[in-house]
């Protein structure tokens, strides 16, 4: 094996790839070759480091220098200074790690200090396209152990004892699900992986598949052994091209190494995996709809029971888990259920990965032990709200979830605490909102989503959510009446009780939860015809303060619809009839003379 004195890790996740990390890597390799360092320094493309806001991320070992926002032009300097002369390029260091004469370890930085990476253990550590790197980090050890030392019942019990619950949002005990499928009668059984990550604003599953695809493959093989299946399916969004490609590579390599296929580890156990691409339908994240879609039909859900454990894919008993759930399995087998059960809270064991987004400094991917408070996530790990704004609420669970208001920021994040305050764990999207976010508008945004994504099979969801959206549109355009709020609540509860699948039953949640904590904002829209956050355009007016206006005419020149007029050097005015409320005038004014009211 070749040995290198330095390793340069370049993030190849979607976030960093979007900010040109591929070019950064190519340039890095080019300059390393130019300086004849290619026998001493190795460039490794890894999965996500988590700090997507500061991408592209490059880490150089053995020093552990964490460079952020590296442009393709910066690579020459890193090669010449750091790799050739051994001098760390301070100006590119992620600033919290930069100390006087040294660099601080990543584990001491606020963003990483409170995190515990189990599901993300290999992301940003190994090259996901090389199976040997996964094996070097204990990869496929758990599968070997299971096949050669454990009975299927022992495996199911181990997962049961670990207390692991489904990470796709529902939080159903994983071990129980395995047990049901194992006990189901059938000559043919399937295991499936739900990688149809549909919550707009969640990207944990994608990052795991991009950064550590083998962990999911290994876990599916373990699950197949435990429940008695020989065929697996991964249903993944077609919108995730990098993840799909890495999965294909990983499955190919696993077959080559005999870790998928016939007689794995020399035992009687045979198992293989097929990838099925989704085609852009949110409802296919619902388990029965997902299976209908794999079967090649419109992804419409089926009534339960029968549950998939009894009658799933192609009407055979099927075990379906989500990506993050699977990613935990090999570690639980290697370290034992007891080790896992010591992490987290009484009823929520282990960790949860969140995609932190919205109005927060450190957008990115974080993995925290269950029971961490929202305050710790927002203020410490997330680095607080940018531009000196105030925290207003956090939204979890996407279109099925709810919001957590500032008054409940000390709520511990676990399945049961979140349900008790009307939110939910969800699959892991965590969107932070500040005072400039309108909660009625957010509720409307999510309803637009569900109306769009409703499959149309059952009336409560197809018609009910549309009626709710119409009421919200009425309210945000200033035509709402007080009885509309009551109607919203009635409709919401009706849909919750009567819709066919999880999508419909949870679709009213964003409305119910914003009504629960921000009803005054709804009332402001209805009674005062005002949008307190200044978002709903129909309720806004841009005004020029004559005392601050210097008459420079910049706003009038920038206005796309010529709604601003006046004499140079005397105050200008906006014609509210013509104004389209785009806000260009306010952002172009150098004297802060234009405000929205």
């Amino acid at each position: 094996m070749e040995l290198y004195r330095s390793h340069v890790l370049v993030c190849g996740g979607t976030g960093c790839t979007s900010s040109k990390s591929q070019l950064v890597m190519e340039n890095m390799e080019k300059y390393i070759k130019e300086y004849n360092l290619d026998k001493e320094v190795k460039v490794v493309k890894t999965g996500c480091f988590g700090l997507c806001a500061l991408g592209p991320v490059v880490v150089v070992y053995p020093e552990g220098a964490f460079y952020s926002m590296v442009t393709p032009e910066d690579t020459k300097e890193i090669v010449e200074e750091h790799l050739l002369k051994g001098r760390i390029v301070k100006r590119l260091l992620y600033s919290p790690t930069a100390e006087e004469d040294d660099i601080k370890s990543l584990n001491e930085v606020d963003f990483y200090k409170k995190q515990k990476r189990i599901a993300l253990r290999n992301c940003g550590v190994i090259n996901p396209e090389i199976i040997d790197e996964y094996i070097a980090f204990d990869g496929y050890k758990a599968l070997g152990k299971v096949l050669t030392e454990m009975t299927p019942e022992q495996v199911v019990n181990e997962i049961k004892e670990s207390g692991l619950r489904g990470r796709g949002g529902g939080g159903f005990p994983t071990g129980l699900k395995w047990d049901f499928t194992a006990k189901a009668v059938g000559d043919q059984k399937y295991v499936a992986c739900n990688a149809d990550e549909g919550d707009p604003g969640a990207f944990m599953d994608r990052s795991i598949l991009e950064g550590d695809p083998h962990s999911v493959i290994e876990a599916m093989a373990i699950a197949a052994y435990a429940v008695g299946a020989n065929q697996g399916y991964i249903y993944i969004r077609a919108e995730y091209p990098i993840a799909v490609k890495r999965l294909q590579i990983a499955i190919g390599q696993a077959r080559e190494y005999g870790l998928l296929g016939k007689n794995i580890f020399g035992t009687d156990f045979c198992f293989d995996i097929d990838i099925r691409l989704g085609a852009g339908a949110f409802v296919c994240g619902e388990e029965t709809a997902l299976m209908t879609s794999i079967e090649g039909h419109r992804g419409e859900p089926r009534p339960r029971p029968p549950f998939p454990a009894v009658k799933g894919l192609f009407a055979k008993p099927t075990l379906l888990n989500n990506v993050e759930t699977y990613a935990n399995i090999p570690v639980i087998i290697n370290n034992g259920a007891k080790w896992f059960a010591e992490i987290g809270t009484e009823k929520s064991k282990g960790t949860k990965v969140f995609a932190l987004g919205g109005k927060i400094v450190n957008t990115g991917l974080v993995e925290i032990p269950m029971g961490t408070t929202l305050r710790e996530i927002v203020e410490e790990i997330g680095g607080g709200i940018p531009n000196g704004k105030k925290f207003k609420a956090a939204q979890t669970g996407g279109p099925s979830g709810g919001c957590i208001p500032a008054s409940l920021i000390d709520t511990p994040i676990d399945y049961d605490s979140l349900i008790s305050i009307g939110a939910m764990m969800g699959s892991g999207g965590l969107i932070v909102m500040d005072e400039t976010t309108c909660m009625v508008d957010i509720a409307k945004f999510f309803l637009e989503f569900t109306v769009d994504e409703s499959c149309g099979k059952c009336a409560p969801c197809r018609i009910g959510t549309r009626r709710m959206l119409e009421i919200l549109e009425k309210i945000t355009s200033g035509k709402g009446e007080m009885e509309d709020i009551e109607k919203l609540k009635k409709l919401a509860n009706g849909i919750k009780a009567s819709a066919l699948c999880g999508l419909g039953q949870t679709a009213p949640n964003p409305v119910l939860s914003t009504l629960r904590y921000f009803e005054d904002e709804y009332i402001a829209h209805v009674v005062d015809k005002k949008c307190p956050a200044g978002v709903c355009k129909d309720l806004l007016q841009y005004k020029i303060n004559p005392e601050l206006c210097k008459g420079c005419s910049l706003c009038a020149r920038n206005c796309p619809v010529q709604a601003i007029s006046g004499q140079v050097k005397s105050p200008f005015t906006i014609d509210p009839e013509k104004c389209i409320k785009c806000g260009v005038c306010a952002s172009s004014c150098k004297f802060n003379a234009i405000s929205k009211q």
């Binding site: 979007s18 806001a53 707009p200 919108e239 339908a281 949110f282 987004g357 785009c582």
Partner: protein, 163 residues
């Protein structure tokens, strides 16, 4: 339908041959319709009725069922994409950072709505769900190029590159 009538189908015999090979490849696979349609869309760029008919006749699946599947999934398009396919992310993270305004600006600038293609076939516009570049929100893509940390005023400059 009137919307599709605008676009004339220009499929070639070579494309049809390629599609027949795809259909043949999947003849023993259970539930193969969606993978076939994915590959068909890669060959033709979209899935007009003409293409659906070829799939129907050769894979032995009723046309009605195929049309049902094509219209169910957002990824399948009945109309062609432009030379430059523009997508604005309307995921939650991008939305709270103002991607709605970016989309409005592009619509105004190109004179087309979401799901449409400009008459000269140059631009098509889509509103997408999360593309996963939340760290760069708000985000838009033009073909494979990603533009992040956008403000409304950036739109002109970006589009001009492709005009």
């Amino acid at each position: 339908m009137s919307n599709q009538a605008k676009y004339v189908f220009k499929g070639t015999p070579e494309q049809e041959q390629e599609l027949l090979k795809v259909i043949d490849k999947y003849k023993n696979t259970e539930g193969a319709l969606i993978p076939i349609l994915h590959e068909a869309q890669e060959i033709y760029g979209y899935l007009p009725l003409e293409v659906q008919k070829i799939v129907s006749e050769n894979a032995n699946i009723p046309l009605a069922e195929i049309y049902g599947v094509v219209t169910f999934y957002a990824q399948f398009s009945l109309v062609p994409k432009g030379e430059y396919s523009i997508a604005v992310c309307l995921g939650t993270a991008c939305y709270v950072k103002g991607s709605g305004n970016i989309l409005e600006k592009i619509k105004e600038k190109l004179g087309i709505d979401v799901g449409e293609c400009s008459e000269d076939g140059k631009f098509s516009l889509d509103a997408t769900r999360c593309i996963g570049a939340c760290g760069l929100a708000p985000v838009m893509t033009v073909n494979d190029e990603v533009y992040g940390r956008l403000e409304v005023k950036d739109v002109d400059k970006i589009l001009e590159k492709y005009m």
